[in-house]
């Protein structure tokens, strides 16, 4: 049994082989299309529901801005962590990233939001900034004076006996305006996201 040395040498001295051995590099690996990238627009109409901004965990990652063609979400690179929550949260499918929209369709899931308001009664001084700033309160009682006192109990937030009280948490839209206007950081709004199965009910 002769060792096939000649074909072997012929093989390794082929110019093609030598070129590959010394110079070829691994091709720069491409990002597969199913990877979650920075969210992109699908072209559907944004209704300024702002669920994307509420779901976003990264500060300053997403804004909804007014353009000549209507509202439009804008992702800020360098802030966005590519989590894809805004894609899942949008009720209109304005954003897309990777396979999120397809898998949501097949699994029949969506994100549902609820809000919780906590008032720290030790810090609250009853100034009523929160109740006056709240846009939901503004719709219910446009005449509300400063101090947050009003006669109706339909309000979302109301100040009585020197403290802020949450009356109808189910009316809250999670905008956090109250939180931003409280001088003492006494009021905290938590946005609770839940992934739920099944069709969307009209709220």
């Amino acid at each position: 049994m002769a060792f096939p040395i000649i074909p072997y040498i012929q093989e390794v001295t082929r110019l093609e082989w030598l070129r590959k051995f010394f110079f070829v590099k691994t091709a720069p690996l491409l990002t597969p299309p199913y990877f979650r990238g920075f969210p992109e627009l699908t072209g559907k109409t944004c209704t300024h529901a702002l669920f994307c901004m509420m779901a976003c965990p990264a500060p300053g990652a997403i804004d909804v801005i007014r353009t000549p063609g209507g509202w439009q979400p804008r992702i800020h690179m360098g802030h966005c962590i590519r989590c894809g929550l805004c894609v899942e949260a949008c009720p209109n499918g304005v954003l897309t990233s990777g396979r999120i929209l397809e898998s949501m369709f097949y699994d029949n899931t969506r994100l549902s939001f609820s809000f919780r308001i906590d008032v720290n009664t030790d810090l609250c001084m009853g100034c009523g900034n929160c109740a006056v700033a709240c846009p939901v309160n503004k719709l219910i009682d446009a005449q509300m004076s400063h101090g947050g006192r009003a006669s109706t109990d339909e309000l979302l937030l109301k100040v009585s006996e020197g403290k802020c009280h949450v009356l109808h948490v189910e009316k809250c839209t999670g905008c956090k305006t109250c939180e931003n206007h409280c001088p003492n950081e006494a009021i905290r709004v938590s946005r609770l996201l839940e992934a739920v199965h099944g069709q969307e009910e009209e709220v």
């Binding site: 691994t26 690996l29 990002t31 990264a58 690179m77 360098g78």
Partner: protein, 151 residues
């Protein structure tokens, strides 16, 4: 262009030394930089070497959101790197502070306030391919004809 300059260009394009510094990250980006060394991405096939010594480095990868412990230290480290040098911010943290940039936290981003940053790689964490692409695209801009440009 002198022959010496073209030799320098050739050598520099095939030998880029990288140091990385973590100025307060969650370690996610460090792991992605580490993944660049793995056979799958193989950063060394491009002549990029990671050995963490600023005195030998050409490129500094800055990772993390700049915690108070790095006051002065990061600048000292930057001074130690011989010219020509360049710093690349890897990940959201050195660009914006990422998730850590909230009220009542101690981080002080962006890192470009403290040392000059030439390129930014966004992502939390960025993919190894993106880090690799940033290093490869910045290196020729900085190191090619460095002596000519300095004059």
């Amino acid at each position: 262009m002198s022959i010496l300059q073209s030799v320098k260009n050739l050598v520099r394009s095939k030998s880029i030394h990288v140091a990385y510094v973590d100025v307060g990250s969650c370690n996610g980006c460090d792991i992605e930089v580490l993944a660049c060394l793995s056979p799958r991405y193989d950063i060394e096939q491009y002549g990029i070497y990671v050995h963490n010594n600023p005195r030998e480095a050409d490129i500094l990868l800055v990772i993390g959101a700049y915690t108070p412990g790095w006051e002065e230290k990061l600048h000292t480290l930057w001074e130690k790197i011989p010219d020509p040098k360049v710093a690349i911010a890897v990940g959201n943290c050195p660009i914006s502070g990422c998730l850590f940039n909230r009220p009542h936290t101690l981080v002080d981003p962006p890192v470009s306030k403290h040392i000059p940053i030439a390129a930014e790689v966004p992502g939390c964490p960025p993919r190894p391919t993106e880090i690799l692409a940033a290093v490869l695209s910045v290196a020729p801009l900085v190191f090619k004809d460095y002596e000519v440009a300095k004059r």
